[in-house]
């Protein structure tokens, strides 16, 4: 009988958190949609067009911007979007 071979786990040992998606909106009418510009070049061009389309469908739009695309959005900004918006769209990159 050989000794059991034991290795030590080199990872953070966190099991990935599985989170439910928020329920999908059944209509855009009267809803508030947050548009988050991550500060990548021409993200604003994409979001401008999206804003026009959303407004035509009766949605209100609030625009947000990350200070820099290289770092995660600040906690306050994420909180503000969550409080004021029914849904959010992030313009990820150029």
């Amino acid at each position: 009988m050989t000794e059991p071979r034991i290795l030590l786990d080199p990872t953070d040992e966190r099991s990935p958190a599985i989170r439910e998606r928020a329920p999908r909106l059944d209509s855009l009418d009267g809803r508030t949609i947050g548009l988050l510009d991550i500060s990548k070049a021409r993200g604003d061009v994409f979001l401008d067009r999206l804003e026009e389309g959303l407004q035509k469908k009766g949605a209100g739009v609030i625009r947000y911007k990350k200070p820099t695309f290289t770092k995660p959005a600040p906690v306050d900004l994420r909180h503000e979007i969550a409080v004021h918006c029914d849904a959010a769209v992030e313009a990820l990159a150029d």
Binding site: T2, P4, R5, L8, D9, D12, T70
Partner: protein, 483 residues
């Protein structure tokens, strides 16, 4: 750490012995003289019937030897009120007489004879003993391999490697790695992006074992982890960007030589164990603790071969200038790492410039290509000057500050050359019409770095083009190395 209270010794004289030691045989007459009085206890590490007829205690489990840090046999101790009052190693008549308070010991024996190594420090036994007596400090999850499971295959399947085999992180190897630090295994070293998990000394030690580090490299790995996990360095962005950058680790201070780092010939090549494994350990921590894997959080378009690890030492001894670390306000002679987020290295080939003015223009022409010849202003770079190029500046008496100033002047961009559309190239700086004669810097002055390294033969230097810099990007960070 050995803890004498874990294995108390009786008051009086105590001697650690082993049969397989000629000096232990040699002192038997002395032991018999001491045994004539009360208060002598013998502990034999390999065979309790030795010395014959003297009633030695069985010390084959080596617990007392370990906890009292016995390094040689014979070792004579005087124990008073449960505490060690004096110790003598090997046979030395004067020491033994003084310690035992007896004169005329071992008449007829030579005055002195060295002992042998204690079994508790035998290299083949020490890892297992350290685990047995001190391994309770390890908190990481134990992963038991099945009987027919191959170690390397098991590690690959769990996603713990960078794609190359690693040293399996057994408890004994991790305990040996922890000998390289005075920090407690559960001490938190940093919070590692992108998953923002606190990494402990123990977890870094596990990844350092896997990378192939020696224990003496561990403090350098700590400093590298601490440096990349700062807000200034912005490891999250460096790791997630499509551009594909890595932290380059530059080591300064006496520790470079102490651990055998390479700063000379083929300085950027794999092959030197310290250079290769320190950089690799940092990358394994980012991967296994930070949770950044290619195709997941790591979104780089092409990736970067330096994600296996990119680390070297500055050649401070041959450099015409003060150490790189002093550019960050650290005193020369301090052990530091400096981390810089960058692309892969590329050469400057100039075999003809023998005057500094020519060489500066030559280097500037090559440096202009960093990112794109029409981009600049907020960029960064790290220039590694090779010894043959360095000689040109040394002989001209140029300081590092003068070289940086001359390079900055030679790197001034003219608006009309770099604005979008200029030269029939859409890429470029967003300059409005009328700014054709505006003069712009290629690099932020504080983000242009010079390091001295490489072989004494070859008229080359090397450029590491930086990632985005300043508060919005990544800034070079220097961190002192502490044990």
């Amino acid at each position: 750490m050995p803890d004498p209270s874990q294995a108390p010794l009786p008051d009086g004289l105590v001697v650690f012995l082993k049969r397989d030691c000629p000096t232990c045989e040699f002192v038997i007459p002395v032991l018999k003289e001491l045994a004539a009085r009360p208060g002598l206890t013998l502990f034999t590490q390999d065979d309790p019937t030795f010395p014959e007829g003297m009633g030695a205690e069985d010390e084959t489990d080596l617990a007392r030897s370990w906890h009292h840090a016995i390094e040689a046999v014979p070792t004579l101790l005087r124990i008073e009120n449960g505490k060690e009052a004096a110790r003598a190693l090997g046979w030395h008549r004067g020491d033994w007489e003084e310690l035992a308070g007896v004169s005329g010991l071992g008449a007829g024996l030579p005055d002195w004879r060295p002992g042998c190594g204690s079994l508790s420090v035998d290299p083949t036994r020490e890892p297992e003993l350290r685990l047995r007596f001190e391994g309770g400090v390890l908190r990481s999850r134990r992963v038991e391999l099945a009987a027919l499971e191959d170690e390397q295959e098991a590690i690959f399947e769990r996603g713990w490697t960078d794609g190359l085999p690693v040293v399996p992180p057994t408890e004994a190897r991790v305990m040996a790695m922890l000998e390289g630090t005075t920090r407690a295994p559960d001490e938190v070293v940093a919070t590692v992006p992108p998953s923002l998990v606190e990494v402990t000394v123990e977890k870094i030690a596990i990844n350092a074992v896997m990378a192939g580090c020696k224990p003496e490299y561990l403090p350098i790995v700590f400093a590298a982890v601490e440096a990349v996990c700062t807000d200034e360095f912005n490891m999250h962005g460096v790791q997630a960007t499509t551009m594909g950058c890595v932290p380059l680790v530059v080591v300064n201070g006496p520790i470079r030589r102490a651990v055998g780092m390479n700063s000379g010939v083929a300085v950027l090549s794999p092959g030197n164990r310290a250079n290769s494994t320190i950089g690799r350990a940092l990358q394994l921590v980012i991967r296994n603790i930070g949770g950044s894997r290619p195709g997941e959080i790591d979104r780089s378009t092409f990736g970067h071969p330096g994600k296996l690890g990119m680390c070297f030492a500055e050649d401070e001894e041959a450099s015409p200038w003060e150490p790189f670390s002093t550019d960050f306000g650290v005193a020369a002679g301090t052990n530091t790492v400096t981390v810089f987020a960058c692309e892969g290295p590329r050469l400057i080939v100039d075999q003809l410039s023998r005057e500094p003015d020519s060489l500066v223009r030559s280097m500037a022409a090559c440096l202009k290509a960093v990112h794109h010849p029409k981009l600049g202003v907020a960029l960064s770079a790290l220039l590694v000057i090779g010894p043959e190029h360095g000689r040109v500046f040394r002989e001209a008496g140029w300081s590092k500050a003068k070289l940086k100033q001359e390079l900055a002047e030679a790197l001034v961009l003219r608006g009309g050359d770099v604005m979008r559309g200029a030269g029939g190239i859409a890429e470029g700086l967003p300059l409005p019409p009328g700014t054709e004669e505006v003069q712009l810097p290629k690099f932020r002055p504080e983000a242009f770095h010079i390091v001295f390294a490489g072989s004494g033969a070859g008229l080359f230097s090397t450029i590491f083009g930086g990632w985005l810099t300043g508060p919005e990007g990544s800034q070079a960070v220097t961190q002192e190395i502490t044990p």
